[in-house]
Structure formats: structure tokens, C-alpha cells
Amino acid sequence: MATPLAVDQYSRFMAEMFDERAIIGVSTVGQSFFGNPAHGSKTIYSPDSKVVEIDIIRGNERIGALIHRGSVSKNLDNKDTQTQNFSTFSRVYPLGEEVSHINADQILSRVAGENPYQQMSRIDRMRMLAREHHMEHVRRFVRMFEYLSWKSLLEGKMPAIIGTTETDLIYDFRRNSGNTISVSVPWDDAAADILGDIDNACDKLRENGKVTPNFIFLAGDVAKVFFANETIQKMSDVRGFSFIVAGPNNPVPTNLQPLVDGGAVARGYIFTPQGRQLWIFCYNDGYTDSTGTFKTYIPSGTAFLGYYGARCDRYFGPAEVLPPTSQKVAWYNEIFGFNMLAAPMPPNVKGGIVNPAMFYNDAYASEDGKKIAIRTQTAPIFATTQTDAFATLTDLIGVNS
């Protein structure tokens, strides 16, 4: 048992607590692709169903047929026009859960930020701790949302369990394999044809996704070699042509503003030799994985481009707890000081696109009344519904170059 500390005789002033958890920005760049009403994307809450289903009709760009007059109608190219040829995707929701405990003994000690002479009551301390636990759960889940969003964006697949290779536990949004491109010559090699590689990816997006891309994200190491490339620098310097404009004097168009609000940095824009205009973004934010290693959401050696306007839906499934009774809601409110059905959100989550309806909060006390657990659950699926509207360029940095 710890020996209580003697209070010295100096007079003192207790400064306001510094809680770094509340300062570190929680980015939402990847999440901003999903559920944006301006893109026709949906945010769907289904608290009572275990499975979500969606029907998808793939489009094409065929042209109408001309036939000889007087001929009988026939099956053209052995393909009738089918307007209802669709696929149904059915998926069981994943489950995210964070639990933390408050002990009866713990609330007899001073909590961080409590003035030693403040004489806080046990319930006040419990409320303070519960609020901190809840906020931390939400911040972790928002980072998890961001991780899942980027998995879905970069690979067209989202894991139901982080790190799994089990195909049954991966939501596959069936992206065309042509949209994931390795380049033969890495971009840090002087012989690289960076603009040619980008134009090829744009061709694939036009062909497979029927879209014209309007942005490109460069991983930190890729951005470094991109702006250092001799051809890129030459193209940036052609007066009157403005092939590449890099610099801070480029306020992004309003339709791309959510990317900046979420934490991305706009570096300028590029006109490719074939005539596409792409806004260049960098995004170096990341998360700490289960082994304690910091990882960026966009992996090293990767560029990601596509059409910011493609439909990407987000689904939030049910909790895995019994439905709360009105007594439980009142009890939760009394002991923690906030409503479990509309809990407060951490102010450091960027972008304003995360809301309390995405989380389920509850608590349960131990039988001996010495401990209480605070639990938060969430069941998100970030679906790149119009999945071929995105392409990923990989292996852009050579291991030995």
C-alpha cells in the first residue's frame, strides 16, 4: 500500500490540468469520403438488424445500335439490354467494443486535475472518470473508423477484424483488379515516368469506374520524391502553361474542402499530359497499432487517386447488449452525469462528421458493488459502393533505389 505523501509547507497554486488526449487531433479525411450527402452517399443506422444488404447495378458506356431498315429485330452482339441485371451484397455487421473500469477504491483518491483541497465527492470523481473513459473510447473508435475507411478506399476491402487474412472476415467490395497498379519503375528512380503512371491510372478510372478523377493523395515519402523529380520540377516552371502548381496559394474548391477540414494538406494541383486536373493532397496522420508501433493511414510508397464525389456509404449496425430500459438510462445518467443515448463527443475530432448515434454506451456494476464497467460499442461498415471510382498506385518507392 502506498504511503500517503506529507504536505509540505509551501503555499501553492494548482494550474489547470493538461490532458494530451483531448489535444491530439483525431483526423477524419478517409471518413469524409463516406456518407457525404453531396455525393449521393448514405449514412444508415440499423440498430435492430444483424445484416445489411445492398443491390448494385453496374453501369456501362455502350452506344446505341444502328440496324438495316427492313431487318427483323435481333439480339445484338448476343447481349440484350438488361436494365435489371444486379448483384445483391449481404453483409453481417462487425463489432467494436471498448470496456474500462472504475474501482470503488480509485474514487477515494485524488483524480488528475482535482485540487487537493477541493474535497470532491466520490460520485463527482466517478463522473469525471466516466466522462474521460467515454471520450477515450470514442477517440479510439474514430481512429478505427479512419483505419477502416482507408482500407476500404485503398484496397476496396474492409476487415471485420483488424489484421485478419481470413477471407470470410473481410468485406470485399469487388474492386476491379486493374485499379490496383504496381509501377515497373519506382518514382524515386530517375527513369520513372510519374505523369505517365498517373495518366494510366486515370485511364483505368475512366474505363472501369466511368469517372474522371479530381484528386490524388501522396504518401509522405512519395510526395518527397514527386516534388524532387526533375520532370515534375520542369513542368512546374513552364510559364503560361501551369501544368503543376505547388504552393500555399491554392484554396481548394469547395467540393474538396471536407478533405482539408478532416486533416489533409492541399499541396497544389496538376494537369496531366493527357489533360486531367487533379488536386494533390498529403496526409501523414496515423495511429498506434496493437504492438505500439505508429503507422500512417496511407502506407509508405502509395498514391491514391479517384473521384471525390463517388458514392461511398457508411452503415452502423446494432450493439451486442440487451436493449436499455428506462431505469437503466436513468441510473446511467445519475451515476455518470450524461445521457447514455446521446453522450458527449470529444471536441478534438475533426471535420464534424462523427456523431453520437454511431456509438452504443452502457455500464454494469460488479455483484459486490466494488467496480463498475463502462462499455462502448459500435458496428461500422465503410463501403466503397462505387468502388471502381478509386485507384491505388503501389510500390512507388523502390527498396534498393
Partner: protein
């Protein structure tokens, strides 16, 4: 013979190689072949040994873990 396995495709100056396509000689450097072979993205008859210049060092153990291991070693020696 070099065969592209994926995932995804390989792009080289206007040519796209899908999974199962044979990549002609001269497209990929020896380093690039060994890099892709190491990642399982292609199969090649002859692959240069994969040696990244930056060696990935094993993660440094924490002081507590080292002390714990030392203690266990001492207990084992005593027993």
C-alpha cells in the same frame, strides 16, 4: 520466365500486365524483380537475393522485459 501474380496489375509504358501474364525481359530491373518476388507479386525462374538496404532491426526490448528475462535466467541457473 517472369509471371505477374498480383494482386493488382503491373504497368509499364502503356502496357498493363494482369495476373498470369508473362513479363518480357528488360522491363523490370533485377532489384525490382527481387522486390516483387519477395512480396509474392511475381514468380521468376531466377531471383536475385532480396536485400533491402535499410535493414529492419528487431524491436528493442523494454527495460522491464530485459530485467524480467534476466531474473528468469538467474532463477533457471540457480535451479
Amino acid at each position: 520466365m517472369i509471371t505477374w501474380q498480383g494482386p493488382g496489375t503491373l504497368y509499364h509504358k502503356g502496357r498493363t500486365f494482369k495476373a498470369g501474364d508473362t513479363i518480357p525481359a528488360g522491363i523490370l530491373s533485377a532489384d525490382r524483380i527481387s522486390e516483387f518476388a519477395h512480396k509474392g507479386k511475381l514468380k521468376a525462374d531466377e531471383v536475385k537475393e532480396f536485400k533491402p538496404e535499410v535493414e529492419v532491426k528487431p524491436k528493442k526490448k523494454s527495460k522491464a522485459k530485459l530485467e524480467e528475462e534476466e531474473l528468469l535466467k538467474m532463477i533457471e541457473e540457480e535451479a
